[in-house]
């Protein structure tokens, strides 16, 4: 009878010990894995957006160049190739911009509004003025407006990207606090924190 009671006590102590150590360790492990995955996804998304911005800014530069080349040629001497390059650039920029500034609610800031306005400016100038006209003269003012619109949009996108990176960095600070809390939980449970 006494042996039996002693064994039950040992079992209860072991259970208490296990629940004290193992449960927090398990919770900590699961949360660590989840947090790791979230951080990895955020990093991948950040890299993707950065790449998208860079490609779009390059498209804008190229579009402005082909536009300037087109408008710097007298309408009667323009070639179908010049026109096709401008049309293609216009299409590329129109497709890229909504992806870059459209579906990212976190990018709602002043830079985004400016980018939208500059985008309209560029589209207005890239195929505006005497585009596809059969006669007339070179319009230097049109070239100036186009150059200004292209440069303005590139700058606006750079500023917007910078604003987003700053915002993500502040989010990372919150994540670092969370990570420290998890490590503390690990130590409490007697488990080595996961190596970075």
């Amino acid at each position: 009878m006494a042996i039996c009671r002693g064994s039950r006590q040992r079992s209860l102590i072991l259970q208490a010990l296990l629940s004290f150590l193992v449960t927090p360790a398990l919770v900590s492990l699961i949360v660590s894995l989840w947090a790791g995955r979230v951080m990895e996804a955020r990093r991948a998304r950040r890299d993707h957006i950065t790449k998208l911005f860079e490609i779009t800014r390059e498209d804008i530069r190229r579009g402005t160049e082909v536009g300037v080349d087109y408008f710097a040629t007298r309408p009667s001497e323009r070639t179908p190739l010049q026109e096709a390059k401008v049309t293609l650039a216009d299409r590329e920029i129109r497709s890229a911009i909504p992806i870059v500034i459209g579906p990212h609610p976190e990018l709602n800031n002043r830079s985004r509004d400016e980018a939208e306005r500059r985008f309209e400016d560029l589209i207005a100038e890239l195929t505006g003025g005497n585009f596809q006209a059969s006669d007339g003269e070179v319009d230097r003012e049109q070239i100036r407006r186009l150059t200004h619109a292209g440069a303005g949009l590139r700058s606006a996108l750079a500023r917007m990207r910078d604003a987003e990176l700053r915002m993500l960095a502040s989010d990372d600070m919150a994540q670092n606090v969370w990570k420290r809390f998890l490590n503390w939980l690990d130590r409490k449970a007697g488990v080595d924190p996961p190596r970075p």
Binding site: T87, D90, R91, R94, S95, I97, P98, G102, F119, E120, I123, A124, E125, L126, T127, G128, G129, N130, F131, Q132, A133, S134, D135
Partner: protein
């Protein structure tokens, strides 16, 4: 309530509108304005301008249509009441605000 007319630029005019004046080609802004849009507006119809299906609307084309209507005596407000854009393609999102911008710019110098 005015009659409503829907004009699909791609179907009723061309999927590749290009140029400003008639002499610039077969599907120019002036041709669209005079042969397609203006007759409907003159008949007092409310026009839904469906822009889906076009490859693009060059600004020279768009300015000739909307800036041109202002130069012909329309006011921006009347035009905005009479014409409504419709599209589902996100790549065409920029055109409605651009059209009104051209109308307002033309009104400011007219």
């Amino acid at each position: 309530m005015a009659d409503v007319a829907t004009i699909s630029i791609a179907r009723d005019f061309s999927p590749f509108p290009a140029g400003r004046k008639r002499g610039d080609g077969p599907f120019t802004g002036e041709t669209f304005r005079e042969d397609v849009l203006r007759p409907k507006l003159a008949g007092g119809q409310h026009v839904i301008l469906d822009i889906d299906g076009v490859e693009g609307l060059p600004s020279s084309f768009l300015e000739e249509v909307f800036g041109g209507l202002i130069r012909l005596g329309w006011t921006t407000d009347n035009l905005k009441n009479a014409v409504e854009f419709r599209h589902t393609d996100p790549d065409l999102e920029v055109y409605p605000p651009l059209a009104w911008r051209f109308a307002e710019a033309a009104a400011s110098v007219h």
